[in-house]
C-alpha cells in the first residue's frame, strides 16, 4: 500500500512536471522518472519481466536515443511561447481535462473500483510460481502470438531501411555540398542527356 502510494505520486508528479519543464533535457529526465515509477507498478502487479524490459529498453535505450538527439540539435533551444492559434492552450487543457474525466469515469464505473473488478491476482500469482513469469510469457508469445511476432520483424526491417534512406540522403548532401537532392538528380539527368547527344 505504501509502495503503491509512492509509485502513484512519483508517476503523476513526474508526468505533471513534464508539462511545465521549459528545457527539453528536463522533460526527458522527468519522463525517465515516470517510467521507473511505472516499472514499479509492473512489479507490484506481478509483471516481473515486463518491469525489467521497461527499465532496460525504455528508460535505458529509448531515452538515451532521445537525449542523444537533444544533444545533437543543441540543448539551449528555447521554446517559443507565442500561440499561432489564439486560445489554443486553454482549449487543449480543457479537452485534456474532459478526456481525464471520461477515462476516470470508465475506470471507476466499468471496472468497479471498490470491489476490485474481477481481480485475477491469485491466478496470475500461481502462473508466476508454477511455470514462472518468463516461461509463461514465452509460451504465450511463441504459440498464440506467433504471427504478430513475425510481423513485428517486418516492421523493424521497414524502420531500419527507412532510417537508412533518410541518412543516405543526408550524407549525399554533405559530400556533394549541394542544398537538395533534386539538384543532384538534375545534373545527373543532364549528364545522361549530354552523353546520349554525343552518342
Amino acid at each position: 500500500m505504501v509502495v503503491f502510494g509512492v509509485m502513484f505520486v512519483m508517476a503523476l508528479g513526474c508526468s505533471l512536471a513534464m508539462l511545465f519543464a521549459p528545457n527539453a533535457v528536463h522533460v526527458a529526465l522527468y519522463l525517465v522518472g515516470a517510467q521507473i515509477a511505472l516499472a514499479l507498478a509492473f512489479l507490484l502487479q506481478g509483471a516481473f519481466f515486463v518491469a525489467a524490459i521497461q527499465i532496460i529498453v525504455y528508460a535505458g535505450a529509448i531515452m538515451v536515443l532521445f537525449l542523444f538527439v537533444i544533444m545533437l540539435l543543441g540543448i539551449d533551444l528555447k521554446e517559443s511561447l507565442n500561440e499561432p492559434l489564439s486560445g489554443q492552450r486553454g482549449i487543449a487543457i480543457g479537452l485534456g481535462a474532459l478526456l481525464a474525466v471520461g477515462l476516470l469515469f470508465v475506470a471507476i464505473q466499468g471496472v468497479d473500483l471498490a470491489a476490485g473488478g474481477g481481480d485475477g491476482a491469485e491466478a496470475l500469482t500461481a502462473l508466476n510460481r508454477d511455470p514462472g513469469n518468463v516461461k509463461a510469457l514465452a509460451r504465450t508469445l511463441f504459440s498464440d502470438y506467433l504471427l504478430p511476432f513475425e510481423v513485428t520483424s517486418i516492421l523493424l526491417v521497414v524502420a531500419i531501411v527507412g532510417v537508412m534512406v533518410l541518412a543516405r540522403r543526408l550524407s549525399a548532401v554533405e559530400t556533394e555540398g549541394r542544398p537538395s537532392l533534386s539538384s543532384t538528380e538534375a545534373t545527373k539527368s543532364d549528364r545522361e542527356l549530354e552523353e546520349s547527344g554525343v552518342a
Binding site: Q35, A47, Q54, E79, A92, D119
Partner: protein, 101 residues
C-alpha cells in the same frame, strides 16, 4: 497485489490525459515525441493491469508489441526531426510547413 486494479487504471488514465495535453500544448517536436512516449507508457500500464484482472499473461505479451512499435517510431521520427533541423535550424512544429505549398 493488495491494491485494487482500478487504482492503476485511474493512474493510467490520468497519465494518458497529461500526454494528450502535452502534445497539444508544447511546440518543440522532440518534446512532443516524449509526450507520445508517455501516452504509450500509460497504455502499457493498462495492459499489465488488464492482464492481472484476467489472471493471464496475454496483456503482458501485448506490452512487447507496444514496445517494438514505440522503438521503431522513435527511430524514424527522430531521424526525420534531425533532417528537418539540418535544413531549417528549428525544431518548432509551427515552422514546419513543407507540405503547404
Amino acid at each position: 497485489m493488495s491494491v485494487a486494479p482500478g487504482f492503476y487504471l485511474v493512474l493510467a488514465g490520468l497519465m494518458f490525459a497529461i500526454g494528450v495535453v502535452g502534445v497539444l500544448v508544447r511546440r518543440n517536436a522532440i518534446v512532443i515525441f516524449m509526450f507520445v512516449e508517455l501516452m504509450l507508457n500509460a497504455v502499457n500500464l493498462m495492459f499489465v493491469t488488464f492482464a492481472r484482472q484476467h489472471g493471464t499473461v496475454d496483456g503482458q505479451v501485448l506490452v512487447f508489441f507496444v514496445l517494438v512499435v514505440a522503438a521503431a517510431e522513435v527511430v524514424v521520427g527522430l531521424a526525420i526531426i534531425s533532417l528537418i533541423f539540418r535544413h531549417r535550424v528549428s525544431s518548432n512544429v509551427d515552422e514546419i510547413n513543407l507540405l503547404r505549398r
